[in-house]
């Protein structure tokens, strides 16, 4: 894990031609980077910051495996140039919870067995946690609609919906 304010070289071998300086704030930490302007936020997170929880599925904004939060809103990090998000608060699955301190949504995915291979899971959880603050109706059908940007090729959908609904109901009870 990088130290706060660490300067990370974009390549351990040699800086690429045309690299530009970019400051990013990810999971509360500041990073000074030199990256190619073509670098998507997803590639930046994975290849430069070594935050590999966000996954690359389609790389075209169709599958949702790369979902992260920018200023609290969920977005597809594969369709975003990292260099356009200086001054923004970026949150990845690594910033949501840790193994010893799970976010309630992560715990619900565990207890509801809401995954099989797990490749889409971080994107599903990033979408699901954002959904808690969005205008999403109460029914399972509403959740399915709001989660349609996250594809699960194993077909864990019923348990994903159940996990999300359990967190929403617990939130309601505690509210």
């Amino acid at each position: 894990m990088a130290d706060p304010k660490e300067t990370v070289s974009s390549s351990p071998r040699r800086p690429p031609e045309g690299a530009i300086p970019v400051k990013l704030k990810v999971n509360g930490k500041d990073y000074d980077l030199r990256i190619d302007p073509r670098t998507t936020l997803l590639d930046c997170l994975r290849e430069h910051l070594h935050l590999t929880g966000s996954k690359k599925g389609c790389d075209h904004g169709q599958c949702g495996a790369c979902t992260v939060h920018i200023n609290g809103r969920r977005m597809n990090s594969c369709l975003i140039f990292a260099a356009m998000h200086e001054d923004d608060e970026i949150t990845t699955i690594e910033g949501l919870g840790q193994p010893e301190n799970l976010h309630p949504m992560q715990a619900a995915f565990l207890s509801h067995d809401a995954y099989q291979c797990g490749y889409c899971t971080s994107g599903q959880i990033m979408s699901a946690t954002a959904l808690l603050k969005e205008p999403c109706g109460p029914a399972d059908a509403d959740v399915k609609e709001c989660m349609s940007g996250n594809i699960c090729r194993c077909g864990a959908y019923p348990n994903i919906v159940a996990a999300i609904q359990s967190v929403r109901q617990n939130k309601e009870k505690s509210a």
Binding site: G18, I20, P37, H60, R74, M75, L79, F81, E145, G149
Partner: protein, 334 residues
Amino acid sequence: MKTFELTRATDGAQAIASAAKSKTAQQGADIRFIAGGTTLIDLMKLNVETPQKLVDVTRLPLDKIDNLPDGGLSIGAMVRNSDLAHHPLVQKNYRVLSEAILSGATVQLRNMATTGGNLLQRTRCMYFRDTAMPCNKREPGSGCAAITGLNRGLAILGTSEHCIATNPSDMNVALAALEATIHIRGPKGERSVPIADFHLLPGNTPHRETVLEPGDLITHVTLPPPAPGSRSLYIKLRDRASYEFALASAAVVVTNSGGKITRARVALGGIGTKPWRSPEAEAELTNQSASEEVFRRAAEVALRNAKPQSQNGFKVELAKRCLVYALKAATQAA
């Protein structure tokens, strides 16, 4: 992806001056504005778009939704689709717009996509997106692979022998029915273009999709005040229930006064090379009874000039039924 220079615009004039140096504002532009990126970055990854310079306009102060003195609404070009769809004034007065936006893409994409960008959304024609194939829109003069190829999802209205690509946007269809005006700032000053004139038919120049010239920046979109007593809604038919482009869609704004239609605005999506307003259907509905027979007549005239391709003949009847269904829903007792 081809490499590019990225600059961040701090004011509109600077952004316009930068982009005015582009050879074109249409397909193949060497300088592009970038906002949400949901279309542009996708196409850059496919090498369909290869700009040498990107001007990031996301920090320009164009992200407000404001009431207008005449009772209409002003929507900044940088307003995100999610914010527009969920805005209380849009939900109250322009329901068709909210429904259209929420029927398209996903929450993640709607959180990224902007009003200005959605107006410029590019076709999903697979031949446009595949640089190995001929496409007159992508590469003028190379031919159209879709006419003799896989054209199930493509257009039946407004096509030419050079291009049958569908305008994929849902938002644009609602804006057409609402008679929105597009406000543009360019190197020569400001101008306003009715949405009906903003998108171009493919004709002999399918690579030209809008009236935009180099340096032209969409600043905002205005909507006229809601028609008194009108109801509006959006019906979208597609292969799956969510996250899919329309095979046919209908945006209607109808005033029903005691069973008689006094005013109607109709636009169709998924079937046209541009957002397809149908003045013919509107004329057929106006001052007629709100009956299925009248709705069917309106649908017939709206599709009268349909020119189906080898695989999309079903869209003619589908679009008619879609419009009839939308009109019935919009005129039913609340």
